[in-house]
């Protein structure tokens, strides 16, 4: 079942966000240009792991809802993002954080020890992203590469310190099992992030992973966990007296930490994710919650109110809260089009949208407000990822992804399975009623690449014709081809290859003759 949003082409901004994700994913290992936030050591909400994971989620939403017939655009980016999230630079913070010592666990710290395995205990703020990204990949691309033994290996060795190699081997299923049993052992309240700190937010990605696991392997882990999670939280409530989501629960005392300060990121992040399996609850509370955060600006622009964070242990907290980004992502999931338009208007007016190598992002700006008192603060997580996420998402996007799985026939339909790095795709949907693959492609001049577009599952459908902007470009049947236009076309195995000339930008339709399926 295709989303109606797949019938519309992406706009230039949406295409730009995807290309920015692609650009970031192509950076060499341990090059993190544009991604470093204010905080030290990958500990806070702007960490690389969050940027990598939510780029993957945004791509998943876009593929599922907007470009279902273009797996080849998304799959390589997904692979590079997963490769990056396995790098020690992303997860080595856990060796230190696992020892405790924050105000939430200092009284327990003598029982903690340094942990090298980043998914062994707690740290769901990392493990669930690896799990859900790998399982999303399998589900979206019907490719079980991360189900292979040791496909998700966390490895560290330094020439300079630390002794022998540390290596922790998992795959998508063993990691899923491990997180599931941690969830069971917690009484379904959830797995901790930092020791003793069980955040509502950070257990939601694991639930997304469970759902993907069920879709791939069968079973009902997600149903079991969500049902039990609701039951377990019933005694504490998930919403505080002020109508905002609880931030976390202390595992030892079972004391919930309410969002007394009305931090926007708490409600926004929780609501954006919780919606996937608890839509009614999230939508019910959204109108009252969002009212506390929005701040009207000029000409339809909307910004947010952000309270000053209190000092902790006499220290000012320096971290990326990503309030603006999270609110925008949440609003997109809620389908609140007017508010979304207002927030993006604000971002486009005051947050310096920037094009780089064909990609669109909002560069980090640590200045909270400009001279006119207008919010300008933007973190890499918001500027690289969340504003793009919001622009690419559809109303209830995660809910639809979670609850409306693709039919198995989806994977048998013609689809674009590979694209040159210089080709943008703004539409890709297979219309089964008309037996036609509709797609819009543009070969960029400002990005290097070979201009190719590979279409799979095509030849087996029988004789076909390709038209671009209504003009017939080619006809084919089996290995025979008749080319009528400027587009170079070839057959490679069972795939059709298009070689787009520079500047090629067309809406194309590849139509198959019904009733004449080639038995191959």
């Amino acid at each position: 079942m295709s989303s109606p949003y797949a019938l519309q082409s992406l706009d230039k901004l949406q295409v730009g966000h995807i290309r920015h994700f692609d650009n970031l994913s192509r950076q060499p290992p341990n090059q993190w240009e544009l991604m470093k936030g204010k905080g030290y050591g990958q500990e806070d909400f702007g960490g690389f792991r969050f940027q990598l994971a939510y780029m993957a989620y945004a791509l998943a939403l876009t593929h599922r809802h907007r470009l279902p017939a273009a797996p080849g655009l998304f799959k390589p980016i997904f692979e590079r993002l997963i490769e990056k999230i396995l790098l020690p630079e992303v997860w080595m913070y856990w060796r230190d954080v696992s020892r405790g010592g924050s105000i939430f666990n200092a009284h327990l710290a003598e029982n903690y020890r340094e942990e090298w395995n980043p998914v062994g205990r707690d740290n769901i703020m990392y493990s669930a992203y690896v799990q859900s990204m790998a399982l999303l990949y399998n589900y979206l691309f019907n490719d079980s590469r991360y189900a292979q033994p040791a496909a998700l290996t966390f490895r560290f060795w330094s020439y300079f310190w630390g002794g022998e190699e540390k290596r922790f081997e998992y795959d998508q299923n063993s990691l899923n099992d491990h997180i599931y049993w941690q969830m069971v052992q917690s009484g379904y309240l959830g797995v901790a992030c930092e020791p003793n700190c069980v955040f509502q937010i950070c257990n939601q990605p694991a639930i997304l992973g469970f759902r993907m696991h069920d879709l791939i392997n069968g079973g009902s882990i997600a149903e079991e966990v969500t049902r039990s999670y609701e039951q377990a939280w019933k005694d504490f409530g998930r919403i505080g007296d002020n109508g905002h989501y609880h931030i976390m629960m202390a595992r030892d005392t079972k004391a919930v930490r309410q969002n007394i300060g009305k931090s926007p990121w708490v409600d926004a992040w929780t609501g954006a994710l919780l919606n996937m399996w608890n839509r009614e609850f999230v939508h019910d509370h959204y109108p009252r919650q969002i009212r506390d955060f929005l701040k009207s600006g000029d000409d339809g622009a909307l910004s947010i109110n952000v309270p000053v964070r209190p000092e902790v242990m006499g220290q000012r907290i320096i971290s990326d809260d990503c309030d603006f980004g999270w609110v925008t992502a949440w609003v997109s999931e809620m389908g609140d089009a007017e508010t979304l338009r207002g927030l993006l208007t604000h971002a486009d007016r005051y947050m310096a949208p920037t094009w780089l190598d064909g990609g669109l992002y909002y560069p980090r700006n640590d200045m909270v407000e400009n001279a006119d008192g207008i919010r300008t603060l933007i973190e890499p997580m918001s500027g690289n990822v969340l504003l793009g996420y919001a622009r690419l998402n559809i109303p209830d996007g995660l809910w639809h992804l979670y609850n409306e799985p693709w039919e198995p026939t989806h994977f048998e339909e013609p689809a674009i399975v590979a694209v040159g790095s210089d080709v943008d795709i703004s539409r890709a949907i297979f219309d089964s009623a008309r037996n036609t693959l509709n797609f819009a492609i543009e070969r960029r001049r400002d990005v290097r690449g070979n201009g190719t577009v590979r279409i799979a599952k095509a030849l087996a459908r029988g004789p076909w014709s390709l038209a671009c902007d209504g003009a017939e470009m080619a006809r084919g049947s089996g290995n025979s081809l008749q080319i009528a236009g400027s587009l170079r076309i070839g057959v490679d195995g069972s795939d059709v290859l298009l070689y787009c000339p520079e500047g090629f930008a067309h809406l194309c339709a590849m139509t198959f003759e019904s009733g004449k399926r080639d038995s191959r």
């Binding site: 081997e169 795959d171 099992d177 917690s186």
Partner: protein
Amino acid sequence: MTSLETSRLMPIGGSFCLIDHDNRVVSDETYLGHYALIFFGFTHCRVVCPRALAKLSAVLESLGPLADRIRPIYVTIDPERDTPDVMRSFLQPYPRFTGLTGSREQIDRVKKAFRVFAQRVDDPTGNGEYAIPHTAIAYVLDPRGRFVSHFTDAPSAEEIAVRLKQLLTTDCQPCGAGAVPTV
């Protein structure tokens, strides 16, 4: 030497040494050669345990002679109150089950091995009573003592019976590469 961990090597379950409700020392080895159906609970439990034990008893009844291949075990999470005598008395309505108890240390070890959640909640009246919300999962071990499946409290007795029959008649190994065989 490389520090290598593979989660496949971290199974559910493991060795234990406890006392059964007839005051005999038992261990995981006692049950080798049979399937084990293990449920954790406490005899003061008002709802979860009676419901689970009744359901699992009905399942076993429905299996007929196949049930002879299964050793149903009820492990307490409340060893301070659940002595062997208390366990034997509590399990009289569920005669297929053998109750196991032990020292606090022994119980904590077996709870950890099976990833069991259990947390004492004191009665607010201050009368010294307490409840222990706990995991409501029935674990199945194969005749070699390996974890093969588990049942939450959601599936019906019929659904559990079907799944157990499949296990018993095919001697099947853990289903799927790494899949959590939950029912």
